[in-house]
Structure formats: C-alpha cells, structure tokens
C-alpha cells in the first residue's frame, strides 16, 4: 500500500538523477552488508563501511565498475539474491543500487584522492596543512574560510552570495554569541558605524561580554552531558553542587582558556596540579578540581541502588559506561559503546580497548570503595574562608540561642492561663497517685489493658511519683494499657471560640539515664472505654508524640476500629519541653485540634465533629517498653470572653518571636550544612584501584582477565609511547593525566581529531549543521566532511592560535561565508538546495533558551546576573514544569534553571531543549503544534507580551511611530510596506472587535505583539 509513496520518494530523488551515496547507498550497505563486510569482520577482505574501502574492493578485486552493471560483482550478487545470504534486498533497494551504479557510482572517491590520504580513515590522520586555494573571484575579503568555500563553488560556476544587511547581521551575531537580541543602542551604533571594520569591532565587543560564556558554555555543557540531577532511577535525585562545574565552564570560555588545557583539566585537573588535601587553595586549584566533575556528569543511580548485589554492581557499571560514552563522543567524536560487548563492527575499536579505556578512569570509579553521588565533594575553601565561616556560624548559633531564650522568657511571663479545670504537679506523697489517677476510665468497668497499670509501683508496668514527677514504667513487652485521670472533661466547649487544653512537661524520654529513650510519648484525650465494649462511639483519641516527626492522631485507639486521622504539629517530642493539645470550638459544630509546644499552637491541625469527642479522661499510653518522666499536667478551659480574647491576643503576639527564632535556627543550620569551598569533583583517592576486568559479552558477571590502561590503537602512533606507571608515593594512578596528555599532545593523531571535532562543533553552532554532519561520530560510520580541506584548515588554525575558541569563532563569524544574506537567487537555490555548499546563510530557528530569554528581555525584566546555584523549577498542578514567578530568580537566563533530567522546563522542552540522558551534541529543531499552542496561549508568553505592551505605552507617541518601534524591537528590522499595512488593518479591526475603548486599544496592541513574536520573523535568524 505504500509503493506509491516509495515511487514518489524515488521520484524526488530522480530530480537529482543519481541516488545520493551518503544519504541512500551508505545506509543501505550499512544495514545489509557491513555486519559481515565491515572494518572488523571483513569477509573476503571486503569492507563496505567507507567510500575508500568500497572502491578498494575485496580480495578478488574491485566489486563494482561505474556505469557497468555487468562488470560489477556487487550488483550481480545482490541482484541474484546471493547477497546478503539471508534477508535479500527489497526490489526498491535493489533499484537504488542499480541506479547508483548506472549513474557512475557518484560519491566514491577517485583513486588519486585515496592515494593522497593513505589507507586509513580520514578523521584518524594527523591534520593536513591544506593550502588556502586560489580563487578567481578577487573581490572577496581575504578570510581563508571564504577561499575554501569559493574554490568549491567555482567548480560549479557558483559563488558566495552578497553580504546580509546590517540589521540582519547584528541579530545573527548577537544571538550566536550571546543568545540574546541586540540592544537598541547596539543596533543604532552598528547601523551608524561607517568604518570598514565595524563588524570586527562588534564581534570583539560581543566576544568580550560576560554573557558570551553563557551562550557558548551551553554548547559544551550539552556535549558534556551536564545535569543537576542523578537520573537513572525514578527518584532522579538532586546533584546540588553540579552548578559549580557549569560556572567553571562559563568562566573558562569567557576567559578563552586554551581548549587543550580545558580538556586536560576536565579529565585530570587534580593530577595536573598535583593536588593534595593540605595544598593551599587558590582559584586555580578550585578550577582544576571542579573541572573534573566532567567525569561525574553521567547518570548515576548508585545513591539509590537498593536491589540485590548483582543489581548494585550493574548500576555502578552503568555509571562508568555512561561516563565513557560521554567522554568519547564529546571529545573524540567516537561511538565506543558497541565495543562493551564485542569488537566494534563499524569502528576500529576492539573489545579489549574498551576496557583499557575503562582502566584509565578506574580510580574515579572504584568498585570496592564506591563513592555515592552525594559524597562526591571536597572542602577546598580559599584562605580565610573557613575562619570567616566559623565566625559567622558561631554568631548565627548565638543568635538562635538568644532568640530561643527570649521566646522562653516571654512565654513564662505571657503564656495565657484559662480556668484551671484540673492539674497535677505530682507534689504529694507517692501514695497520693491513686487519688487522682486510675488504670480504669471513669465509669468504665474494666481496666485499660492486661495486666492493668499498677499505681505507685516500681514494677513495670507501673506508674509512680518520684521527686515530684510522674514516672511511667513499661516492660519490654508489647501491649496497650493506659493510666487515666479519675476526672472526666467536656472536650467540646459550648461557645464558638471557647477552648479546652491539656498540657504537660515531658521531663525526659527515659527513666534510666542509661536506658533507651521512649520511641513514642503518647497520650489520650476523651478516654472513656478502653476495650470499646460500651455503647458510646468515638473518643479514645491517641496523640502519638514522635521524637522524629510530626504527631499522629488516632481515633478509637486501640482495637480493630482504630483509625488514623492524620498528623498535627511539626515539632518532635524531646525532653525538657511542654507539650499538649488544644480543642477550640469553631463555627458549624466543628472542633479544631491544635498541637501545643510550650503553649504555642503549631501549624498543622485537624478538625473533629462533636461525636468524635465524647466526655472522657486524659491519660498516658503504656506500651512496648516506652518509659518516660512527665510533670505538671494541666487541663485548662477558656470559656470566658476575656480568656478567649487573651488567647487570641497571645497567638498574635507570639508569632513574631516564633518567626525570628525559627529564622535564626534555619540560618544557622543552613550555614552549618554549607561549609565554604564545597566543590564537586571526580574524587580519585587511590594509586591502586582494583584491576579492571574485561567483560565477556559485556556481562557484569562474566569477567575475563584484567586489562591495564591504554590508548585506542586507531589513534596511537609510534612517536608517542604510552606513559609508564606513576611515580612511587603518587596520590593517584596518574592514568587520567597520562591519557589527557596523550589525547592533547600537539601534532598527534588524537589531538588532531579533538581539534576537528571541536572546530566542527563551533561551525555547527554558527551554521546549524557541521562540516561533518554527525557531530558525535567522526568514525567510519559517521558522515564524511562536506569540505574536508576547510575542516582541516580550521582545526589547524584552532591549534595554531593556542586552541583559542574565541579566535576560531572570530574567524568564522567575520567570514563572508557567515555574513552572507540568507536569500539566494533562484538558480543558486537550485544548485544548492540544502545550503551545504554555503551559497547563502542558513535560516535557523532560535533555540529554546533564546526564545525564553528573549521574551524576558522584551518584557524588560531579564535579570542578567551571572553564575550561582541552579534556579528551582516546579511541576505545577497541571503537570507543566515551570519556574514560579514569585521566585526572585524567575527572570534569570535559562542556562541557570534546574537541569533536572526528568523535569525539563516544559516551554524549553517544547522548543527542543534536550532531556539529558547521556549528552546532546546536536539539537534537532522540530516544528510541532504544541509550539504553536505555547506561543498562542501560554501564560508565560502572554504575560511577557503584556509587560512589553506596557513598556511601549509608557510614553505618548503617535501610533505609526509606535507601530514601527514594535516591529523593530520584536523582529530586529522595520516592517515592509505590506507588513506594516497588514498590522494597521489588524489593529483597526481588533480594536473595534474589542469594543473600541482605550483598554480595548491596549488589548488589541497586545494581540498584535503576541502575533509578532509568534511570527517566523521573530523566531528565525535570517
């Protein structure tokens, strides 16, 4: 049923008569042939994974001759269904191969070209020193980039396009280098700058901006797999210090740190500076340690692993493998994970080499002394920071103490007393206990529990008065009992606002100073019938005081019908404080229960009905070895108007004291938990990590012999020997530094690859696609470069300028290639339909962060503060992930928002911000209706445009001037005549539609602004 569509697609391809080698033939060969005829398993010595190898043919000679099907064994074997032996090609696929050969097998290199580059894969060779080609077009500026591009174009009688106008250019530069639109002042200055080097000076200005690092930093942070959470498990726990690595990256790029140094720091900063714990801490030391967090960017579930030992082991391996994958793709553009189980089928990376690489980082991922994510920090305060912190902490703790004391004093003097309905200070003789207390509730015939509580007895379970205090003594057996007052109380005061409360001092949670503290201090109110045999429902409310968390309340306790009602209060039960509950009659026959600590009601409350609070006694629960000491039990009622008023007054006036105490305590504890100089880092602590074992088929349970660290052979050469083992007494293995040095050694093959991969990355940033399309894969299975000589020249220039990213970008963005207009005459479009020959600048959509940041900018509220801990995001009740507007950091740039793997800010996600699993080397911009809904209807967009509208109405100016201004600000250019009159017409209609009032006018303008921002002219860079 789809054959028609296939025909259509083939029809599309026949517009360009030959099938495309890269897009159509290579995938087909890879899918069907490379399994057996690849770089590793080259059956019949035939390798069909690279153009060169296809041309070379098999042990029996060439496999194809262009234009000649009969002389092409490749075709004949495929046509006869001999190859592949199982699962032959479909008719459509055969058609493609056939057409390709018939058209002369375009895309294969010439024999001469192959001889020049040698046998190996292009990306694994040392950088060539390509001559900057001569071009016929002599009017061009002398930027070598343009000569490479132009030379290629001249073969086809094409040429670079004209330079874009200034408005277009400044917008392109500003977004590419800063991620924000140009300011009005920058725009005006640039438009008025008549000097020949106006562009160069603008570029320098942008490269010097502190916001440059925020934009370019994101390019590397995506590639490095930076995230603020651990991922892996559902919990996706927090990674609170990771932001310091993010800031390190921004800082390093702002400082234009040589990229090779940047790489060495991230792999081995600690080894690079020879870090020891007693070393004096400087900014450089902090950078070197923080940089190594790069090796901790991967997902890591080992903080939450709770399964059997096999699972725990698998979780650890998973962390290591993720780190290896990120390192290989981001630095070297190599996909290595296939080699975890077997030698790579497409790349020259053996199974063994995978584990040699693992051995390089084995010190960081020590299987026997595994360090969980939240323990991966070091305290490296700058001189004086620690002492200053200690002073601040002591002051904060004093402050807390003072506030506590003040509150206590105030409470003693001001705690409101109602009418005392009953009290016991346990000051009478021991035998007086029975006068006031009993194991039986008043009116009940059976004691609470078996055996009943013995009064005035030192034998557990028993209760006795000692030193004017009540001791509750409980044996270590299970079972519920109670000791209750002989008096009953009315727990449902009649008048609205009236209250009854019971309070007592918890002297100590243990009777024996050496004993175990009671795990609960529980008590009853409305106690009336322990075994529930009576007719009266409700009551027997157990207030279950907990030493760790809030207090739970049960109804009808104990027994099968007991019901947990919820929790009250927040303060745990500890000795030396006064606890209790207050019941207040609210309106509608509802009764509020508040938890009292030192007489002060707390926040979490419960509400009861009258039925649930029958008349009954107060009492203590005896259970399960919980012995403790209490004193001063007081039952008070507040039923007189003046008492009720005093109560209300008390609650009001205690609040500020309470707040200042809890604030002080919060500050002290925050300070205590955050000692200065807390850095995230790789944490490598030993020169002797356990041997890394080669895993049979990648199975964690099936270990082969141990392997040592070593380089990838495809990139190593004789000139550069692998370093010896580290010195004696070394703090670590030194393997990471060895690898980092190997990989960045000037002039070496790996350094050449790094330079190519990074040059391509920044090129991709400026054009939307790379010279190599597969930014993460420069291997045999990756795409070949469209402009190999240019790539090598750029990479070489990058190295020659001491690995300066800024110089590289300056080269790129000052080229005419970059500065071209994005509009092309039709014949150029036909000749260069996808723009990869660079006859025009590509039209690119703004990335997610730029869209959000631009909205904040237009709203006039963008907060451009640099650096710092991530900004919290929340999942709103409708599931949307947002930043709360009340958050003081709400309007900061998107790079500072919480990069939680499972909680990407919805708006950013809709516009293709990546969900980081490993890393992201390229974002694929999509066009989906959810983006349209966001721009049309979202509260975030509407509010920002409302703020924008308020700004443009802040002064009084004629409408036509205002209209021109809003176009200029939202699109960065004035409208065309048609656009201007369409907007005018819209305003007239919409104002009328909205009722014509001044308010309607504003609304209509807002409606216009929102459409201007939703328009392609705002969302795309031309």
């Amino acid at each position: 049923m789809f054959s028609k569509e296939i025909l259509l697609l083939i029809g599309l391809f026949t517009a360009d008569p030959a099938p495309k080698f890269d897009a159509q033939i290579v995938p087909l060969l890879k899918r069907h042939c490379v399994k057996c005829h690849g770089p590793v398993t080259a059956e019949a010595r035939l390798n069909l994974s690279t153009p060169g190898a296809v041309l070379r043919g098999s042990e029996n000679g060439p496999v194809l001759r262009p234009h000649d099907l009969e002389a092409s064994p490749l075709w004949k074997r495929i046509a006869a269904n001999e190859m592949p032996p199982e699962d032959p090609l479909s008719a459509d696929e055969k058609l493609l191969i056939r057409a390709w050969i018939e058209h002369g097998a375009p895309g294969l290199p010439t024999v001469a070209g192959l001889a020049a580059t040698g046998d190996g894969h292009w990306a694994f060779q040392k950088l060539s020193l390509p001559n900057v080609p001569d071009v016929a077009q002599t009017l061009l500026p002398q930027n070598p980039i343009d000569r490479f591009i132009q030379a290629d174009l001249e073969h086809e009688k094409l040429s670079l396009g004209p330079v874009a106008d200034r408005q277009t250019l400044i917008r392109r530069l500003s977004y590419d280098l800063l991620g924000l639109p140009p300011t009005d002042m920058e725009l005006q200055a640039f438009l008025n700058d008549g000097s020949p080097d106006a562009v160069e000076r603008l570029v320098d200005q942008y490269l010097a901006s502190p916001h440059y690092g925020e934009r370019i930093g994101k390019v590397w942070l995506d590639a490095a797999g930076y995230a603020d959470s651990n991922g892996y498990f559902n919990a996706d726990s927090d990674r609170p210090l990771a932001y310091r690595y993010r800031d390190y990256v921004i800082r390093s790029l702002n400082a234009d740190k040589p990229f090779d140094r940047f790489v060495r720091e991230q792999l081995a900063g600690d080894e690079l500076i020879g870090w020891t714990p007693d070393m004096p801490i400087t900014e450089e030391v902090i950078d070197a340690l923080t940089a190594t967090h790069f090796l901790r960017n991967g997902q890591d579930g080992t903080g939450e692993s709770d399964g059997n030992p096999d699972e725990v082991r698998a979780d650890r391996y998973y962390t290591i493998e993720g780190t290896m994958q990120i390192t290989a793709t981001s630095l070297l553009g190599l996909t290595i994970q296939c080699a975890k189980c077997h030698s790579h089928k497409f790349e020259p990376i053996s199974h063994r080499e995978y584990y040699q690489f693992q051995a390089v980082i084995a010190g960081v991922f020590h299987h026997e002394k595994w360090i969980k994510p939240n323990e991966r920090f070091v305290l490296a305060p700058l001189p004086g920071e620690r002492a200053a912190w200690e002073v601040r902490l002591a002051a904060a703790e004093d402050q807390t103490q003072l506030a506590k004391q003040k509150l206590a004093e105030w409470l003693t003097a001001n705690r409101p007393r109602g009418k005392i309905a009953w009290s016991d200070g346990f000051d009478g003789p021991p035998e007086s206990l029975a006068e006031r207390w009993s194991p039986k509730a008043p009116g009940d015939d059976a004691p609470g529990g078996e055996p009943a509580v013995a009064l005035n007895s030192a034998a557990a379970p028993g209760a006795r008065i000692i030193n004017g205090q009540l001791q509750v003594l409980e044996a270590g057996t299970a079972g519920n009992r109670w000791l209750v007052t002989r008096q009953i109380f009315d727990w449902t005061p009649d008048a609205v606002g009236a209250a009854i409360q019971v309070t007592f001092d918890l002297v100590d949670r243990r009777v024996d100073p050496n004993g175990t503290p009671a795990e609960r201090t529980a008590y009853y109110i409305a106690a009336h019938d322990f075994d529930d045999s009576g007719a009266k429902p409700g009551g027997n409310l157990l207030i279950d005081g907990n030493p760790a968390t809030s207090t739970t309340v049960y109804l009808d306790y104990p027994g099968a019908d007991q019901k947990q009602l919820g929790a009250i209060g927040t303060t745990p039960y500890t000795g030396g404080r006064n606890y209790g509950v207050r019941i207040t009659h609210q309106k509608d026959e509802k009764f509020l229960m508040e938890h009292l600590v030192d007489g002060v009601p707390e926040e979490k409350t419960l509400t009861f009905t009258e039925d649930q609070l029958p008349d009954g006694a107060f009492g203590y629960e005896f259970c399960c070895g919980r012995s403790y000491i209490v004193d001063n039990v007081v039952v008070e009622t507040f039923d007189q108007p003046q008492d009720i008023a005093a109560l209300a007054e008390f609650v009001k006036s205690v609040q500020p004291l309470k707040t200042s105490m809890s604030e002080a305590a919060k500050q002290a504890s925050a300070l205590k938990n955050n000692p200065p100089g807390k850095l995230p880092w790789a944490v490598d602590l030993t020169p002797n990590p356990p041997a890394v074992q080669w895993l049979n088929r990648g199975d964690y349970g099936s270990q082969k012999e141990p392997v040592g660290p070593g380089p990838f052979s495809a990139l190593s050469d004789d000139e550069q020997a692998w370093p010896e083992s580290p010195a004696e007494n070394a703090r670590t293995t030194g393997r990471r530094l060895a690898w980092a040095t190997w990989v960045t050694k000037p002039g070496s093959r790996p350094a050449s690859l790094i330079a190519r991969v990074q040059a391509n990355r920044f090129w991709q940033h400026h054009f939307g696609f790379g010279i190599v399309d597969t930014a993460d894969n420069f291997g045999l299975s990756g795409s070949p470069p469209t402009h190999p000589a240019l790539l090598d020249w750029l990479a070489g220039e990058f190295v020659r300028t001491d690995w300066s990213v800024k110089s590289l970008q300056r080269r790129i963005v000052t080229s005419q290639t970059y500065r071209q207009s994005s509009r092309s005459p039709q014949d150029q479009l036909n000749a260069d339909p996808d723009g990869r020959r660079y006859t025009r600048a590509p039209v690119r959509r703004l990335d997610a962060e730029a869209i959000r940041d631009t909205l904040l900018y237009h709203a006039g509220i963008l907060n451009d503060q640099l650096y710092g801990p991530y900004i919290k995001t929340d999942r709103a009740s409708n599931g949307e992930v947002i930043v709360q507007e009340k958050n003081p950091d709400f309007a900061r740039r998107s790079i500072y928002l919480y990069q939680r793997r499972t909680q990407v800010v919805s708006m950013l996600q809709i516009f293709d911000a990546p969900t980081i699993v490993f890393n992201s080397v390229r974002r694929t911009p999509t066009t989906i209706p959810l983006q349209s809904l966001n721009l049309l209807n979202s509260e975030f967009v509407s509010k920002r445009m409302l703020e924008f509208t308020q700004q443009v109405f802040a002064d009084d100016r004629p409408d036509d001037e205002r209209l021109k201004t809003v176009f200029l600000r939202l699109w960065g250019r004035p409208p065309t005549t048609e656009e201007y009159s369409a907007a005018q017409k819209f305003l007239a209609t919409q104002i009328a539609e909205r009722g014509g009032s001044p308010e309607a006018t504003r609304q209509a303008w807002l409606d216009l602004h929102q459409m201007l921002f939703a328009a392609s002219a705002a969302l795309y860079l031309e």
Binding site: A23, P309, S783, N878, P929, E978
Partner: protein, 469 residues
Amino acid sequence: MHDSTWELNRRAFLASHAGGLGALALTSLLQDQKLHAAEARRHAAVSLTPKAKGVICLFQHGGPSQIDLFDEKPMLRKYHGKPYPGGALETHFDKQAGNVLGSPFKFMPYGQSGIEMCEHLPCTGAIADEICLVRSMNTESVDHEQALRAIHGGKLIAGMPTLGSWVTYGLGTENANLPAYVVLGDPGGLPVDGERNWSSGWLPAVYQGVPFRSGSSPVFNLQSPDGLTGKMRRNQLDLLASFNQSFLDRHPEKSELAARITNFEVAARMQLAVPEALDLSQESEETQKLYGLDRPETEEYGRRCLTARRLIERGVRFVQIFMSGQPWDTHSKNAEQLTKLCQRTDRPSAALVQDLKQRGLLDDTIVMWTGEFGRLPISQGPDGRDHNRRAFSLWLAGGGFRKGYAHGATDDFGYESVKDVVTVHDLHATLLTNLGIDHRRLTYPMDGREASLTDAEVTKCRIVDALLA
C-alpha cells in the same frame, strides 16, 4: 516562483502531510540529511499487510502477580509455608525472602475457551474468548525502572524511544488535529519513571507521547487567553499567516516554514478537537455503565478506558493508560492489594474490549494489558511477593491477535517461563508485525548505526506466530 526546488519541497510537504501530524513535522526537517534518509526508511519499513491500525496499552505499573491472577499453580498450595524446593531464587530484596506462598484466590475456567483466571477477574473472564493470554513472558531485570524501560523501549537503559514513538514514527496519525501518541495519566500522579515511560528518546520530539490531563486544560495551553473570542483569534491567525507567508516567500527553500504556517491552524483546530474527544457526556448511559462510571471504585479508571476508545475512534494511533506510582508492586499484603486493584481495573479493561467489538473497532485495534514483570512464588515478609523477571503474564485482544487462547507455560511454581517463552523483544516484533511494520527495517540512525526497537541482531527476537489469528 514555482520553480523546481519549491515544487519539490511542496510535494514532499503535501505527501507527508497526508500521513498526518507526525509526518508533517518530520517533513519540516527534510533539509536534514539524516532525516531525509530516515523518511525513506520509514516508508520502506511499513511494508507488511497491517492487521491493526492502532494500539491501546493498559499499563499495570509495579508487576502484577501472575500466579495470583492468570497462572494457577497448585504446587504453591501444596508447599505453602514450606521452603521453596527449587533452590535459590533471584530476588530483588534478598533479606526478606520467605517460604512458598500459595495464592489465596480461587481460579476458574471462563468462557467457551475455558481459560483459567482468578475469581477477582470476572469481567476479564467474560471476554476470555476475545483475548490472547500469554503466560510465558520474561524480561531482563528485577528492577522496576529497568524493566519498564525494557517493555516500553526494548533496552534496560533510559533514553530509548518507546513503543508508541516507534509506531507513530512508522505510521503517523489519521487525525492531524489530535496528537498521534496520547498518554492518559492517572489524576493521582505520575507513574514510576515518569515521563520516560512515553519518551521519544532519540527519535524527534514529535514522536513523544502527549499527556492528556484530566480537567479543563488536558493539553498545556489549550485554552485561548481570557476574553479572546473566536473572531479575535481568527483576526490574529490571519495576520500571523500573512506575516509567515511573506517570510516563507523570502525563503522558499525552507519547508519547515510552511509547516509552521500549517501548525498554527492545526493548533487552533486542536483547541476544539481535544475537548470534543474528551467529552464523555456524549456517551450513552449504557456505555458509561459498561465502563463502571456509575461505581466509585471503577469510575476513574473507567473514564480513561472510555476516553481511550474515543481517541482511537478519532484516529489516534497509540494510547497509553498509566497508573500513579506502582500499585501492583505488592511487597506486602499481596492478596489484599490485588483484590482492590482488580476491583478498580477489571470491569473497565474488559469493557473497553467489549465496546470496541460492538463498534467494529476491535479488529483494527490492539488492546494490551501488561505490567513490567511478575512476582515470586515465595513470600516477602509475612504476606508480600517480591519481583520476578523470569515469568509474567499479559493479555492482548483484537488487532490480529488470536482469540480465546492461552499461550505458553511456566514451571510448576510459576517462577520461570519454560514453554513457548516470549521475551519483551518477541512481543515488540509481533506487535509491530500486526501493525504492518517490518520490525527489522523500522530504524533510525543513532550512534553510528541504524537502531531499531527490537535490535533483532542482538536480541534474536522473533515474531510469535502462535499469537496471531
């Protein structure tokens, strides 16, 4: 201006627009070589005769206990309370492993086919002759997250595209005004592993499941701003279209810009289409009752099952119904929890199959009821069961699956699938086959290779012919 390049793009655009929303967004990316090739492959992969057009997956988070629900084991009763005689078992929580725990539930044969299921599944029993029960499933991990990833994405690791993403990548949608892949989340909250259960992984984001929430705004930003009438919105859209058309005229080579124009119209239509699809008041009282909307225990789940039918009816390709947290994870009070969960899900799940059948939709629609793994024959603590990756049961209905059939078997204790074992990869291969997709050819470039859901070369999966009608 209607030169050949423009015409080329226009044709590509129109051709794929016919394929629906997914294809629409994909086309906009045709400039990207990688996707250009992928588009050709997508078409090539959809090469088999389809038996089904859509899928509804009733996902039972936590690992439903196969030996208490679908797979009766008399030996468990015989050995109840005694040590497991078969030697060491793989557990998740080593320290709490107890003795053999017999199922307290009665099993009985249902329907003409006589498939045995437990007493708490009377409604599923009533559709016994429609379902294909697989008793011999296994998976690769006893860890929830990893097993979830295996059954949704074919790999233990996070970040893979899920089944629904692959299906919508392959088939697009039949209703451009609704998302192709809809997730009906539990109002109680996200399931374990959250959004990753419907992630498009490294497939383009357009293939991600779109969660519909209960309440007035089922999709983010579905409601126009307050006070904006239809007429005012129309004015806005017309203005926007004129701006965007003039921008497209400046860059005719960029087909994404044409897709963007269309998308604003699609978005406006979605604002009407989504609430209409979710409006259950249009359903008869009889239908509402069938799904248990009149009973408190089934109302919520029933609403989502009924909604799933309405979405499939309107051309949505893939609907997933999830549960909050992982309710089937019965580490304690196994029997008590299962009873409650059956009360909640049995009637609505069966109603969905019945209703689809009555409306003639069942032949075209696959309904799948499954969790991520099963549970152990021994107790955990006094009355719970721990995870088991070696055996679990699931059922399929409609869409080319065999009716009234129970497939495969586990050992005497239900610990391990031993006869006609079906892996999660086999399941994926078979599901894709019924949808007319060649599972080996539905690929997308990833990490330097053509990656697929089933990764047949590594997983050695096969299509389970016995499950097919």
